[in-house]
């Protein structure tokens, strides 16, 4: 599990870091265009920088440092993981030619200006001392560049270990907030729809599948099969689009809102609790239908085929031969075996619910988890992109475990050693 996690993150990390048109280049282009902002177009920004850059050298260095591009890629990955020190609170300063010690202001501590002394030994190594002469426990310094006249550009910084392993997913470039903070509300929204859609599809599909199996070949089976085929042939988000056109008030009926998680904030705040619940449900109807349709067809068919197969087994004939009632044979004998494949599919469906959300959230204009990731890819917001990846990979690994547990519960023949 851990190697898998590391492997997959290394892979995506490398792809992102080596890709042209990264955040660094995008910011540079934006700066050069005179503050002309406007989110990158889809797939855009693969243009290489033309000729000499207009940006001054120092600003470029600053940018590189901000995005962490001043380090080799393996260090960037280890920093991101949190097992390599991250350099923070950079401050540039110069050491004049011939001098071996300078004083540097490094901000405030206990309400007073904090100064440290930086001294250089013969080899050019810098060490930082507090004002009382003891080596500084937090500050470190390195020389960046030595000019011809002997002056040196140096940088003083603090080090800290913080990354995925310490729960720090970094800071988003576009939102300028910690990634976890950006993710939390959006994940909750996606979870809301995902879980409702998930339970709904189980509640509908299992009884439907059972009924279809028991009435195999009847007109009920035929009609519901048609519905299942329709549901299989149309992706959930596309059906969502159809529903939106039909019921969203564009050309036909105006029954449901056009999108969004709930009413706009100004209206939302003034609602009473009951109004909020109604409003939320009103907004949720169409997305939830779209959400649950993705697993509807597969689940129903799986349930039906599994029960059908069991009903044609010898042990069912034996049960009938013993004179048991049909009810008992179907619900006690056949069902216990038929539910096994459904149970093992639980984890898989969780993963599907998550990945389906890119589209549905975009169709219904819901500011959810999938849309956040989609936007992050467009904006080259790497911390969010990677954070999303971490969360999804973890969910998938968890889903596998849930699947195994569910399977073991449903099938007593399976034991974990």
């Amino acid at each position: 599990m851990i190697p898998t996690f590391l492997g997959s993150t290394i892979l995506v990390f490398t792809i992102l870091q080596l890709a042209p048109g990264g955040p660094l280049e995008q910011t540079m282009i934006q700066l050069q265009m005179g503050g002309m902002t406007g989110g990158g177009e889809a797939g855009g920004g693969s243009s290489s920088l033309l000729g000499g850059s207009v940006l001054p050298e120092s600003a470029l260095k600053e940018l590189k440092r901000f995005y962490g591009f001043d380090k080799p890629i393996y260090q960037r990955y280890l920093i991101w993981l949190g097992i390599w020190p991250r350099e923070i609170k950079h401050r540039d300063f110069t050491i004049p030619s011939g001098k071996a010690q300078v004083e540097k202001r490094v901000g405030k501590r206990d309400g007073q200006i904090w100064r440290v002394d930086v001294s250089m030994d013969e080899k050019g190594e810098l060490s930082v001392f507090d004002k009382d002469g003891s080596p500084s426990p937090v500050w470190q310094a390195t020389i960046d560049e030595t000019h011809e006249d002997g002056t040196r550009e140096a940088v003083i910084f603090q080090q800290e270990y913080s990354g995925i392993l310490t729960g720090n997913l970094g800071k988003s470039y576009t939102y300028a907030k910690p990634v976890t903070e950006v993710m939390k509300p959006r994940f909750r929204i996606s979870l809301f729809f995902g879980l409702i859609g998930y339970f709904l599809s189980y509640i509908v599909c299992i009884p439907l599948g059972i009924r279809k199996a028991l009435k195999h070949g009847s007109s009920f089976d035929f009609i519901s099969s048609v519905i299942v085929f329709v549901a299989y042939s149309i992706p959930g988000w596309a059906l969502g689009g159809v529903l939106l056109v039909l019921f969203g008030g564009g050309s036909f009926w105006d029954i449901f809102p056009l999108g969004g998680f709930h009413a706009p904030m100004e209206i939302w705040e003034e609602m009473s609790f009951i109004e909020k619940v109604i409003n939320q449900a009103h907004h949720a109807v169409l997305p939830v239908i779209a959400w649950s349709i993705t697993s509807f067809a597969t689940l129903t068919v799986l349930m039906k085929n599994s029960l059908l197969e069991n009903l044609s087994q010898d042990y069912i004939r034996t049960a009938f031969a013993k004179g048991l009632s049909e009810k008992r044979v179907v619900w006690i004998h056949a069902m216990r075996n038929s539910i096994i494949p459904i149970a093992s599919g639980i984890g898989y469906i969780i993963a599907v619910v998550i990945s389906g959300s890119y589209f549905i959230e975009r169709v219904f204009n819901i500011d959810g988890f999938g849309r956040m990731a989609y936007q992050a890819i467009l904006d080259r917001d790497y911390p969010i992109t990677l954070g999303f990846l971490v969360v999804v990979v973890l969910i998938r690994l968890a889903a596998n475990i849930i699947s195994d547990l569910a399977l073991a519960t449903a099938d007593p023949r399976i034991r974990f050693k």
Partner: protein
């Protein structure tokens, strides 16, 4: 009649023929198969069916065939308007030519069945953007005044071709690698399995989006990206199957006869483990088409102005008052996918030796 029937009973037919006969008996699947194959075949002739260029032009005693030249790759079908005495910049406008030549000239031309082209901007002819369906434009026009009906059909061809090529490559890779893993086992198996494990833990769609946002895909690049993340699903099955088959006596016999590995893999084992793979093929194609539409919808698919259902949907869903922009691509996609699902269902049933008995 009874005579032939009786004789048939004694003739043993090959398993594949029996499957084919059973498939033919399943009307829903069989007719879907015929329809889809026929429409796909015809869709290669689209340049002579749905095109703004004339099929035949007779001008001053000479014949020109612009639309037919479109069918031949590499041939130039470009005729400037001045060539036919038309005062327009750039290419000749054959629809206008036809009107001009209706009376009083010996010149004539034959337009294709549906005289609009999926790429042309027809706003210059007084058509508006977002025109509702009418007699001229059966399914209306889109945000840049292109004909929706024409684009729909061209997109059909592209979608199916895309999904077919994709699935074939996926199958080729999946079967070869999965088979080799199961057959050779050992270190190769272990190493490949680790790679697959890592790949499969990634959210595929996410990876595809990242890659296409970086690479700006063309038709084949998109297939390449999609294949890279999607060849995996077959390897699981093939690997297990090859492990099981390799332990059987006929393989041992082949090995002891000194057969080469690739002959054992492809001639001896593969035919024995192919049935589930074949039955899954149509569903794989369905997945490919759905994925292409999805990517196009997100803007990470085929580059514009390629006709695509996903791109049309994206336009439609931004202006939901323009219902034809939503309904046409969704219906097209839906009908196509449903047809293929029916085929898949038919094939599955034809290959399935089991007969479900009813209750009791």
């Amino acid at each position: 009649m009874t005579n032939t029937k009786q004789r048939n009973k004694h003739v043993s037919i090959s398993i594949n023929r029996r499957r084919w006969l059973k498939f033919k008996g399943l009307k829903r699947g069989y007719y879907s198969f015929i329809t889809i194959v026929a429409v796909y075949g015809i869709s290669f002739l689209l340049p002579v069916l749905i095109n703004s260029k004339a099929l035949v032009v007779q001008y001053k005693g000479e014949y020109y065939f612009p639309a037919i030249l479109d069918l031949i790759p590499g041939a130039s079908s470009y005729y400037p308007g001045t060539k036919f005495g038309q005062n327009v910049p750039g290419e000749a406008n054959y629809r206008n030519l036809k009107k001009e030549w209706e009376s009083g000239t010996d010149n004539w031309l034959v337009m294709p069945f549906y005289p609009y082209n999926p790429y042309e901007d027809i706003t210059t002819e007084g058509n508006k953007m977002y025109e509702a369906p009418s007699r001229n434009h059966w399914l209306g026009t889109d945000n840049t005044g292109r004909d929706v009906f024409a684009r729909l059909f061209y997109a059909f061809n592209i979608s199916i071709s895309f999904a077919l090529i994709l699935t074939l490559i996926n199958y080729l890779l999946g079967i070869t690698i999965g088979g080799a893993m199961g057959y050779f086992g050992g270190k190769f198996d272990l190493l490949t399995q680790r790679v697959i494990e890592i790949w499969s833990s990634l959210p595929m769609l996410f990876v595809i989006i990242i890659m296409s946002s970086i690479l700006r895909p063309s038709f084949f690049l998109l297939i390449f990206i999609y294949t890279m993340v999607n060849w995996i699903f077959l390897t699981y099955y093939m690997r297990a199957e090859f492990y099981r088959e390799k332990a059987k006596d006929y393989v041992s016999a082949a090995i002891s006869m000194g057969q080469r590995s690739h002959i054992i893999i492809f001639r001896h084992i593969l035919p024995n483990s192919l049935v589930p793979v074949i039955t899954y093929f149509p569903f794989s194609v369905v997945g490919g088409i759905a994925m292409l539409v999805g990517l196009d919808y997100l803007g990470f698919g085929l580059p514009p102005p390629t006709p695509s259902w996903g791109q049309m949907l994206a336009v439609g869903l931004e202006n939901i008052t323009k219902w034809w922009m939503v309904f046409s691509p969704i219906s097209a996609q839906f009908l196509t996918l449903m047809g293929i699902v029916f085929i898949g269902e038919g094939i599955r049933e034809a290959f399935d030796p089991k007969v479900y008995s009813r209750l009791r």
